[in-house]
């Protein structure tokens, strides 16, 4: 399986390194041609406003939407979660998400950069003890729709969710040297 990493902006290199540690090959995706070569897609952390704009100018928005509709597995972290969510609260009016996981999210819901934090998570279905998670200007999941499994929470707020082939994290699994969430994605894909 070849995993694409949406490489418009954000921590692409860290995701590639996490996949390489799991002996999974990856490809940065910047054009529709790149997308055609991959079986699954990671949408990395970054600025969702920037990525949303570049999705339009690169011509990737439509083909990604079609692939997601056809069941392509996808994994969104932080800004990637926002891009996959059904409902973005207080987003910019020109910001459109793919809407393939029934979540309502609030951008920067935990506050600004200085409110970023790290914590240990217990994750349903992931063995090996708590997982260290890094939250940076993270989105808050405010509503979970039908069919969404909540795999981990912080203060009762969902931070890791799955709906069919779509996995999303409000934190940055690519920034801690722990490949278990990437493994979870690859196993489910």
């Amino acid at each position: 399986m070849k995993v694409g990493i949406l490489a418009l902006q954000g921590d692409v290199r860290e995701h590639a390194a996490a996949l390489a540690d799991l002996d999974t090959s990856s490809l940065p995706v910047r054009t529709p041609g790149d997308l055609a070569l991959v079986d699954a897609l990671i949408l990395p952390g970054g600025e969702s406003t920037t990525m949303s704009l570049l999705l339009d100018s690169s011509g990737l928005r439509q083909p990604i939407a079609e692939r997601l509709h056809d069941g392509m597995p996808a994994f969104g972290t932080c800004a990637g979660l926002i891009l996959l969510a059904a409902d973005v609260l207080d987003g910019r009016p020109d910001q459109h998400s793919f809407g393939v996981i029934e979540l309502a999210v609030r951008r920067n819901g935990y506050g600004r950069q200085v409110d970023s934090f790290e914590t240990d998570l217990d994750i349903e279905g992931v063995a090996g003890g708590p997982l260290h998670a890094v939250f940076i200007r993270a989105p808050v999941v405010e509503r979970v729709g039908e069919g969404v499994e909540v795999l981990a929470t912080v203060d009762d707020r969902p931070v890791l969710c799955r709906q069919g082939p779509i996995l999303v994290a409000a934190f940055h699994p690519e920034l801690s040297a722990d490949g278990r969430i990437h493994e979870l994605f690859i196993e489910g894909s």
């Binding site: 921590d11 570049l54 800004a79 950069q113």
Partner: protein, 277 residues
Amino acid sequence: MLRGGVIMDVVTADQAKVAEDAGAVAVMALERVPADIRRDGGVARMSDPALIEAIKEAVTIPVMAKARIGHFAEAQVLQALGVDYVDESEVLTPADEAHHIDKWAFAVPFVCGATNLGEALRRISEGACMIRSKGEAGTGDVKEAVRHLRSILGDIGALSRADSAERYGWAKRLQAPIDLVQEVADTGHLPVPLFCAGGLATPADAALVMQLGAEAVFVGSGIFKSDDPARRARAIVEATTHYTDAEIVAKVSRGLGQAMRGEESSKVETRLADRGW
């Protein structure tokens, strides 16, 4: 998460909106862009908190602001204002000729400039979370940015080929802590992201430094001192993403109007890059 993005200098809330609309990953809030600081002379200080607050209100992307080198009280004020990053910047007039800010004492992350690997590692040892190659701010001349980036990345390459005994010699030459030198030698990169700043004015400038190995770019005077800031900003964002695709860089570079006029960096009176120790 600024990697692969463009951080733009803005001096008003309206400019901040233009920057956000163009796809900036962050804005740097300041009273004067470096080109004007150069032209006006005088002492350059932290911006008015009212300006920083107005810019914070105007956009949803992160807001950075500059403190003078060594001026920890300015940094405390910026942290109290809730800026997302503090840039301890040589563009402002230094407040301390021997010491940089002890950045470990802050919760807010810092970005610092560097002209070479030793300077970068000293800033990291003081707690910087990001390094930007300094270039020569306010000139619109990319050559110093290229020099600094090549110096930092070239030395990282050479250091990673050094044997275990030579690493101590490197630490001595670089005037940098041995544990950071060991880490760079082992991993082949800085322990924090390396961005590029100082003199970038065109989409091709961004593509150049990204291909050389920068992980994101700062554009200061280059945008709002040009004919058509909104289009140029957008074009630089596109070029930073598609930096290996010359056809896209060519497409976005068309018809942008005049770039900032600029000044050759070897002819400027005050070399900002020399500030910092």
